[in-house]
């Protein structure tokens, strides 16, 4: 592992205001924690596992994470030489295709569930994703 990766992990940890984050892959294991202040009432726990509020300003800047519903290979493009379905900054509408996830030679197209702006795209092109892997950070519009 290298320090750049660790830095990215901690940045993610901070960006999402987590209290504990554990990453395990093969022989590598990383665990990050921050003590929570106990004076304040407990933080709001979302009952919807797929969307995580990541900012304290509730009005405009709340983003959500779209995670993978299946195991497969992530593709940003419909075919090797085609342009990506979406880029960071794009606005997409409910039903627009966000990416393709290939599983057992079948291309599964993931559609947006709501209108939103793409804030971040997590996986690399052609990387393996599992269920719950973060795919996109989006902001509802």
């Amino acid at each position: 592992m290298n320090i750049k990766d660790l830095e990215s992990i901690i940045t993610l940890f901070n960006a999402h205001n987590l209290s504990s984050l554990e990453v395990k892959e093969k022989d590598l294991k990383i665990k990050v924690q921050r003590q929570t202040v106990t004076v304040a009432p407990p933080a709001y726990a979302s009952s919807e596992p797929q969307t995580v509020p990541t900012s304290k300003e509730k009005e405009k800047k709340v983003t959500e994470t779209i995670t993978s519903p299946i195991v497969g290979t992530f593709y940003r493009t419909p075919s090797p030489d085609a342009p990506p379905y979406v880029e960071v900054g794009d606005t997409v509408h409910k039903g627009d295709i966000l990416c393709t996830i290939e599983a057992m030679k079948i291309m599964n197209q993931l559609e947006a569930d709501f209108d939103c702006e793409i804030v971040k795209i997590y996986p690399e092109q052609a990387s393996m994703i599992e269920v719950t892997t973060p795919l996109f950070e989006v902001k509802r519009i």
Binding site: K24, E25, K26, P49, I70, V71, G72, T73, A103, M104, I106, M128, E130, V131, T132, T133
Partner: protein, 438 residues
């Protein structure tokens, strides 16, 4: 040899498989549900992949996610464990089609044995004694009643596609026959999507005795003696032991050879079990479990053979090389299943340890028993020179078993082990009801 093994299961059997793989230098990839993201198997596996949500249908039964995960993580083989997809012929075939080794029998063997009537016919073809009854699904009520009178009441109406005691009705006279057929078909349809039923003789004080085998897939098979699984509550096994107190050396020889003949006939590959009912010194074929079983450790302790290891070696093409112990006159093994009475978080846990005691478990202090899966918390297995000593050692182990946060069946298991009936060895599958329902 298999280099990387995908484990499509959870709980103690996933831990068991990881251990056997590790002992062989095979690296492991665990497919787990979101509910099992902090399980012991998760902690022990070399790599983990989330294959779906907490419901089994989303994860442990999700063939596409499992096979995709196995392929993308560059596994050579999938071990299905027990339950879930372990006896699913379609999953075995899809695994084979994806170019992966399915650790188990061929998909055709599984398909054949999954059908009660077909497997009964195979047993008949291999000259294995079966309970008197119909060999084809029941066509009419009249046929059934005539059959029942030929066999002699009581008889049993069973779902042809069934298992786990569901879709079974016992009938003691002509009068009740029609109603029983009606309910049985309805249950069969709702549980198994198939309303085929058939009629068999009902044995009213049987022992559930099963023979463990391993086959090389080319007609050679070896048996590892029997397990007695007669202590059951509502068809759920609670205590298993080997040898059985009702199986003589001669009966063991005959049952073992019957079972070997059947497995040879099937060209059976890997570990499997032939289940018999034994009553009054006679044995009757029930079914084949085309997979490893929860209670396999009992046999492992008697023969000092690691059944999961041998499964992996056979699947890897290393052949069948086990040599079971010939003289089992001074060994006796017992397994007790510790089940949770409900979901909850284990606040403290300390398994029994020490001589002659083996604990197979996936729980630890802080583990949350999920409401989504079965209630098995741990299997305690002991081996000793004779049955009475084994019972005493098991009682010692259960006394040392410490768990808090979830209710368990430990007290009930102690009551069974200390009962005069169990001690004497003279009991049948009604024991649980006799002890706790009368």
């Amino acid at each position: 040899m298999i280099k990387t093994l995908f484990i499509a299961n959870r709980g103690e059997i996933a831990v068991r498989i990881i251990r056997a793989a590790r002992d062989l230098g095979i690296s492991t990839v665990l497919g787990h549900s979101t509910a099992d993201a902090d399980s012991l198997a998760y902690r022990l596996a070399d790599r983990t992949i989330c294959i779906g949500g907490p419901q089994s249908s989303e994860s442990y039964l999700n063939m596409t996610n499992i096979i995709t995960a196995a392929l993308l993580s560059r596994c050579d083989a999938i071990h299905p464990g027990v339950g879930f997809l372990s006896e699913n012929a379609e999953f075995a075939r899809k695994t084979e089609d994806a170019g992966l080794i399915f650790v188990g029998p061929s998909s055709e063997t599984i398909r054949l044995l999954g059908d009660k009537i077909a497997s009964r016919n195979v047993a008949l073809a291999a000259e294995v004694p079966v309970t008197p009854g119909s060999v084809t699904p029941l066509e009419s009520l009249e046929e059934g009643i005539s059959l029942a009178n030929g066999i002699g009441y009581p008889v049993m109406i069973k779902a042809s596609a069934g298992g786990g005691g569901r879709g079974i009705r016992i009938v003691r006279n002509d009068r009740d026959f029609e109603q029983a057929v009606h309910i049985s078909r309805k249950e069969a349809l709702s549980f198994f999507g198939n309303d085929a039923i058939h009629v068999e003789k009902y044995l009213d004080h049987p022992r559930h005795v099963e023979v463990q085998l391993m086959g090389d897939g080319e007609g050679k098979a070896v048996h590892l003696g029997e397990r007695d699984c007669s202590v059951q509550n509502n068809h759920q096994k609670l205590i298993e032991e080997s040898p059985s107190t009702v199986v003589s050396d001669e009966l063991r020889h005959v049952m073992g050879n019957d079972a070997i003949r059947l497995f040879s006939h099937l060209n059976y590959r890997g570990a499997g079990t032939v289940e018999f009912l034994v009553q009054d010194g006679k044995h009757y074929f029930m079914e084949v479990n085309a997979r490893v079983q929860v209670e396999h450790p009992v046999t492992e302790m008697v023969h000092s053979i690691d059944i999961i290891r041998e499964q992996l070696l056979i699947a890897a093409g290393k052949g069948l090389t086990i040599s079971p112990r010939e003289d089992i006159s001074n060994i006796h093994a017992i397994e007790v299943r510790i089940n949770a009475r409900g979901a909850g978080t284990v606040t403290s846990f300390s398994p029994p340890t020490g001589p002659w005691v083996r604990t197979d478990t996936h729980i630890f202090s802080g583990y949350t028993v999920s409401p989504y899966y079965d209630a098995l918390l741990a299997k305690i297995i002991v081996a000793a020179g004779d049955r009475q000593d084994a019972i005493d050692i098991m009682l010692r182990a259960l006394k040392e078993f410490e768990i808090s946060g979830v209710e368990t069946n430990i007290e009930e298991q102690v009551a069974i082990l200390t009962s005069q009936q169990f001690r004497s060895g003279r009991f049948n599958t009604q024991l649980y009801d006799q002890l706790f329902r009368q």
